[in-house]
């Protein structure tokens, strides 16, 4: 890892030996004199982030933003080949750079806060480390660019820990908007006939996950699923969803500043909600608030993996 990357990861951090991490954190907390915002927050969890260094920088910034809302101890780990890797710490964050994958779980076991939940935010790395970490994590949040490999491993972890994917988090608003249309009796009556699903998406895995959810929730048989790449270069992973039968069309679309859910026929109604905050800190913050196993995600992932790519 280059010196530039190291400096970007935790600007102003203190370099310490692994065995000196806890005393250093205690000293930094004491010396802050309460003038920083983080000591005022109740520490609620440990968040372990594993991934390539560039993605750790982004995660570190997100967790810094999260510090506005919740106090967490962050452990950032970049995999490498070292058995005695360099360690950098700030008041509530620890960065371990270049640690051999087989020791990732040992490092986490030593550093996680006792008696509080631990979440692993998986941004990429070796599958064996992922599997080992599942024993230490109350929650596993997957967040990789190309999820196919990690999704296949994830299925085997469902019985071990509560697994989710950050794409799933980002779909929550889409799911809830679409679900709200199903509160309308005429839509519920049309469920057996709703078999045509068209999704336009900037992120195809996200669209597959959404389709997997619908298929698993509404019944698996007879679906015509069309997923096409979107043209919008915004931050939303999906652009539009249309679900139709012969006599019924319902849709959710992203607009410039809002999202719109509509029943287009036969009796139309529209619901508009604002676009949510799309910061990474918001998404991971939402995940850290959840501790239970997510059976809907598990079913959606299984169904998504069976959809033709």
């Amino acid at each position: 890892m280059s010196d530039t990357t190291v400096d970007q990861l935790l600007p102003g951090a203190t370099e310490v030996a692994f065995s000196e991490i806890e005393p250093t954190l205690a000293r930094l907390t004491r010396d802050s004199g309460g003038h920083k915002r983080l000591p005022g927050r109740a520490l609620t969890a440990t968040v372990v982030v594993v991934g390539p260094s560039a993605r750790l920088i982004e995660a570190a910034q997100a967790l810094e933003g999260l510090g506005e809302r919740a106090g967490v101890r962050a452990i950032l780990i970049a995999e490498g080949t070292l058995t005695s890797p360099p360690v950098r710490v700030t008041e509530h964050t620890i960065a371990i750079l270049g640690l051999a994958p087989q020791y990732v779980d040992n490092a986490v076991a030593a550093l996680r806060l006792s008696s509080l939940p631990a979440a692993v935010w998986w941004r990429g790395g070796s599958p064996e480390a992922l599997t080992e970490l599942a024993d230490l994590a109350d929650r596993m949040v997957l967040d990789t660019d190309n999820p196919d490999e990690v999704w296949s491993t994830a299925e085997s972890l469902f019985e071990q820990t509560a697994v989710t994917d950050l794409r799933w988090t980002r779909l929550t608003r889409w799911r809830s908007l679409l679900a709200s249309l199903f509160d309308v009796p005429q839509v519920r009556e049309a469920i057996p006939r709703l078999k045509q699903l068209t999704i336009t998406a900037r992120d195809i895995p996200c669209a597959r996950l959404f389709a997997g959810w619908l298929v698993s929730a509404l019944g698996p048989a007879g679906w015509e699923v069309h997923i096409s790449p979107g043209t919008d270069d915004g931050q939303l992973l999906l652009e539009s969803i249309q679900l139709s039968s012969g006599d019924q069309t319902i849709a959710v679309r992203a607009r410039r500043t809002c999202m719109e859910a509509s029943i287009e026929k036969p009796r139309s109604c529209t619901r508009v909600v604002p676009l949510t905050d799309v910061k990474l800190a918001t998404w991971i913050g939402e995940e850290l608030a959840v501790r239970a196993r997510d059976l809907a995600f598990e079913a959606a992932l299984r169904a998504a993996r069976q959809l033709p790519v």
Partner: protein
């Protein structure tokens, strides 16, 4: 709160992590041009809409006497959002909400008005209709009768009809019973949501979680470990623009009968067997029913019985100095009778006849023009049986305190003794604080958001049931009758900016206790 969403059978809600939204709903606001609608209801609807908590099919029908077009009503919503929700100009959400709004003008006793409402809501068979009575209490009966006569409280097919009633619910036991009876002639109790915005406050709800989701507090939540409880609701404001209402109400009706009795019962109730509206409300009612009469043989109001047996102290603020400026006496406020004996302060000593609380007094005080705006519940524990540090640290140890701050700084604090660092054994009380604002750093919803949503979802946990309201009035009404019978032309005074009258301090002193310094 307990979830009873109006969307059973929606297969897409399984595992959806967002909180449930109600099924299709029409909200009919009586008093749509009034202050409550502008200050609280419309901002709450906007925030619920932003948070995606309103149903896909949602309509608002504003009803009031003032003539107004639909567009003018919508404009008034934008103005309200600007003033009370910080929405400087209409955005996507407020515009969408505005499109769902319409307005009907009419007299509350005119059957034609209700026929128009019927026409408007009849197009949505299967939807829920929530009537919000944001109107003066004197008109409740009229509107309830008209709603019933027009058949508006009977839902077609799978829909529902509910009504939210604002406080005050009656002015005494007789009027509360009469209003309950009138409502029950036209609707079931399950359709009635008597709102008490204190119950929508996060810390008040957290009391249930604190007591019943933690194993370590409940075993000591009783007469063996608790010395007494103090509940304080202090306001710095005077009567403001509410003189006409307040003159007839006073602090006992305005605060104690509803808000503070609700808070007291949440502290005193036994554990419910489940977190459901009926279970929680059953246990709260039990606690209320256990309260000894406030007036009687040994428990009289001011002027009756000796000072040390008086369980109710009333007083009125005189002129004084508060928050950096002089403030007038209550009797000199606009709209107040110069000879008024309406109480602006009341303090009570409450005893419960229960195994848990026998011998543990609950002290309640509330007043206007007090030095600070604060609402808190303080549980004071008994001291240890032996002070083994007496020789090394002669200062008496302070009792353990558990303080639930309801407002403004919502949270929970525990006071305990600790050793001061050093070679000597010196003790000092320290506070361990949990604050919602700093611990979670996320916005706490306004009480009206929580309560409106709960009513749409059909969850009555945070609303007062008829028997609670009547039991509460049954406690309070004899106090008013005793005051009336005493025909005392004067009322004890306290200086604005001070913590109430000396009589309240004497009530505590008679028990060997004192009010907490806040």
């Amino acid at each position: 709160m307990a979830q009873q969403a109006g969307h059973e059978g929606n297969p897409l809600l399984d595992g959806l992590r967002i909180e449930p939204t109600p099924g299709p709903t029409t909200l009919v606001i009586f008093g749509a041009s009034g202050d409550l609608t502008r200050r609280k209801l419309l901002p709450a609807l906007y925030q619920l809409s932003r948070g995606q908590r309103l149903p896909a099919r949602f309509n608002v029908i504003g009803v009031a006497r003032s003539a107004m077009s639909d567009d003018e009503f919508r404009e008034s919503m934008h103005a309200s959002l600007k003033e009370f929700a910080g929405v400087q100009k209409p955005d996507d959400v407020s515009q969408a909400l505005a499109r769902s709004m319409s307005y009907l003008a009419g007299e509350m006793d005119d059957p034609a008005l209700y026929r128009q409402i019927c026409e408007k809501v009849s197009g949505a068979d299967g939807d829920g209709v929530l009537f919000y009575l944001a109107i003066p209490p004197t008109v409740y009966g009229t509107v309830i009768d008209q709603l019933g006569t027009a058949g508006l409280m009977k839902a077609a097919s799978s829909g529902w009809r509910r009504v939210i009633v604002e406080k005050p619910f009656g002015t005494d036991l007789g009027s509360a019973r009469e209003l309950n009876a009138k409502m029950h002639r036209h609707m079931d109790e399950s359709q009635i949501f008597r709102i008490d915005h204190y119950l929508g406050k996060e810390t008040v709800q957290n009391l249930l979680v604190f007591r019943f989701a933690n194993g370590m507090f409940e075993p000591i939540w009783n007469r063996r470990y608790i010395d007494h409880v103090q509940i304080t609701a202090a306001e710095t404001v005077g009567v403001e623009r509410r003189a006409s209402y307040y003159e007839g109400a006073g602090a006992l009706r305005d605060m104690v009968q509803n808000h503070l009795m609700q808070v007291l019962t949440l502290v005193a109730m036994e554990p419910p067997i489940a977190f459901s509206a009926e279970n929680v409300r059953d246990r709260k009612h039990d606690a209320l029913a256990a309260i000894q009469p406030l007036v009687g043989n040994s428990a009289n109001g001011n002027g009756e019985g000796s000072a040390d047996s008086a369980n109710v102290i009333r007083a009125q603020y005189s002129g004084g100095w508060l928050s950096g400026s002089e403030v007038p006496a209550y009797r000199k406020e606009d709209g107040v009778d110069p000879q008024s004996v309406t109480e602006t302060y009341v303090a009570l000593r409450v005893h419960l006849d229960s195994w848990r609380w026998a011998g543990v007094p609950f002290y309640i005080r509330t007043g206007k023009r007090l030095p600070k705006r604060t609402t808190e519940i303080a549980i004071q524990f008994r001291k240890p049986p032996l002070h083994i540090f007496k020789r090394a640290s002669p200062t008496p140890i302070a009792s353990n305190l558990l303080i639930v701050n309801v407002q403004p700084d919502e949270g929970i604090s525990v006071r305990f003794e600790a050793k001061l660092p050093g070679t000597r054994m010196q003790l000092a009380p320290v506070m361990m604080n949990f604050r919602y604002g700093s611990a979670f750093g996320r916005a706490v919803p306004e009480a009206y958001e929580t309560l409106l949503l709960d009513a749409m979802l059909g969850d009555a946990t945070l609303f007062a049931r008829h028997d609670f309201v009547e039991a509460s009035w049954a406690l309070i009404t004899p106090v008013h009758e005793a005051w009336k019978a005493s025909r005392v032309g004067e009322i004890p005074a306290y200086e604005a900016g001070e913590w109430g009258p000396k009589e309240a301090d004497e009530m505590m002193a008679a028990d060997g206790r004192r009010w907490r310094t806040l």
